[in-house]
Amino acid sequence: MAVTSADTQKAAASGRGSNPARKRRRLRQFTRRDVVVLSIMVGIPTLIQLVLVWLPTLFSIGLSFVQWNGLDFTDMKWAGLGNYQYIFQNYTPFWPAVLHNIVWLLFLGIIGTPLGLLFAVLLDQALKGTRIYQSIFFAPVMLSLALIGIIWQLFYSQDNGLLNFLLGTAGKPNAVDWLGTPGVNLWAAMIAATWRHAGYVMILYLAGLKSVDPSLREAASLDGAGAWKSFFQVVFPAMKPTNIIIVVITIIESLRAFDIVYVINRGTNGLELLSVLVIQNLIGEGQVIGVGSALAVVLLVISLVPIVFYLSRTFRKEKA
């Protein structure tokens, strides 16, 4: 059954061969038109992805080493590490922003995500009206973060907000300006973010809990494990894929946090975040592309940690 290469080529050209060698099969399965079509199908999305996502990312790195006002390419001057030196040493909002991002991450990680998990675990039981409760907690996930910023502004408003009415301080001198006081407004914004985040986590964990083999729980309860123990020693570890996604989502969401604080006060006065500083340096009056890009690179480097962690876990099996 020796097939010469000439035969295979002929077969490939016609698109039909009677008895191909296994090795050559892949070549033979495409006509020339198929190859063109397939190249276009892969080429266009890849081109879009390269030109609009990956090249800009590389350019961001490049721009972080220059001094530029964004107007003319000839104005561009090499700055070396100058922009980085500036943001680390002289740019006053930088370190507060880093701190706020860390606090944001810890808040979502310690309060937002566990709260969503708790909702999921409680609502996964056959409670009466569980679907209604699920819909209530899930509703904020459908809203844009910008809109959430507006809705919570109405809630937090110093003179007319519901919160101060409920606390009985509205209109009195001791009424707290929840969004206007540095040191307070970050917590107010994080609660608004949690309002959405917990519902998102709940939905993912509800799906995760359904995927856990019921016999696992049964076995645990037969062994005499209490509800608490059987959850943390059996059910929770069995949801490992969901747990990984949740960890990644929590980290990435806190690095991406932008809309809520930008809607509240453009990310100033105690609401500085890295993502906001990037934009403040890029749009607005004095465009300082170099500084903005250096901030973007800092954000990129931090983001790569969860991204690489997630990708290496997801694609490890396929590469092997």
Binding site: A126, L162, L311
Partner: protein, 302 residues
């Protein structure tokens, strides 16, 4: 499933069952309190939007006296320029979602049905792209669009800035990665024999994609489509960066301007906020299952 278990256990262990009941009571209390807290901001906004400013000025916002009407909605709709903003949202969202699904499904088809050298590399590149914070790409994309010169009959800015195309392109590029990842996982589960058989019958690659695989992918496309409509409708960032003319902004980005426009008229602002919720609310009520399926599709593999 859980009820069945507890019922079966109950006769043997009455003490445990009683404890179980007590715990249920505590669970209800906790979850109900949380649910009320969860609803408060939304209910407060809706409540405020239904009351005339004159009444809230007179009685205060925290009161029940006065009239209730939809007048604020009518005023916000006309004064706020909502018809334009909603139009812009449609102009941006519809093509962006269709292009995203089209490109992502082609890419997913290619990487899931055929194996070649750069398969996994490409898939990793696509997935990673979706996870980056958009702020990282903002400056170079802004400059790229600014320095893409277009004739003035195509764009009054003479470049891609301040055009719908710039927002559609950025959204599409950013969402393709996620959709490709989800769709390729879905397509991998479709038996290889199907395309094999089609190929033996002489079907071209395009026919295998369009007539064999795509119809089978419909559930995933429906779920992702719903999800992407919400994602892109809710996108605040790209129009903020690329669009300067207020009358070209989509609703989500434009509501921020309403704050300045309606100044301290919280009633109008609340009505405006509620108006922007309406499309999401409709999708929520009609396609909630699709939306949830879309969210969990992306997370089911890790």
């Amino acid at each position: 499933m859980t009820t069945a278990t507890s019922v079966r256990v109950a006769p043997h262990q009455p003490a445990a069952a009683r404890r179980h009941k007590k715990k249920h009571w505590a669970t209800y209390l906790f979850i109900t309190v949380m649910a009320i807290m969860w609803l408060l901001p939304l209910v407060w906004t809706l409540y405020t939007s239904l009351r005339p400013k004159a009444d809230t000025d007179k009685y205060g916002y925290f009161s029940i006296a006065g009239h209730y009407s939809f007048q604020n909605f009518i005023d916000a709709w006309t004064q706020g320029g909502f018809p334009t903003y909603f139009g812009n949202s449609v102009i941006i969202t519809v093509p962006a979602v269709l292009l995203t699904l089209f490109f992502a499904s082609m890419m997913a088809f290619a990487v899931s049905r055929y194996s070649w050298k750069f398969n996994v590399t490409l898939l990793i590149m696509f997935t990673a792209g979706n996870l980056l914070p958009p702020q990282v790409l903002a400056a170079p994309l802004f400059e790229l669009f600014k320095h893409t010169t277009l004739p003035y009959w195509m764009s009054d800015s003479g470049s891609l800035l301040n055009t719908y195309v710039s927002v559609i392109a950025a959204n599409t590029a950013f969402q393709i990665g996620f959709c490709t990842f989800v769709l390729s996982n879905f397509m991998k589960a479709i038996p290889a024999e199907l395309t094999e058989a089609a190929r033996v019958d002489g079907a071209s690659v395009w026919r295998q994609y369009w007539n064999v695989i795509l119809p089978l992918t419909r559930p995933a496309l429906a779920a992702l489509g719903t999800l992407e409509v919400i994602f892109i409708y809710n996108d605040y960032f790209w129009p903020l960066v690329f669009i300067q003319s207020g009358n070209r902004l989509p609703v989500t980005t434009a509501i921020n301007n309403l704050q300045g426009q309606f100044l301290s008229n919280y009633n109008l602002l609340a009505a405006g906020a509620m108006i922007t919720v309406i499309p999401t609310l409709i999708i929520y009520l009609v396609l909630q299952r699709q939306f949830v399926a879309g969210l969990t599709l992306g997370a089911s593999k890790g």
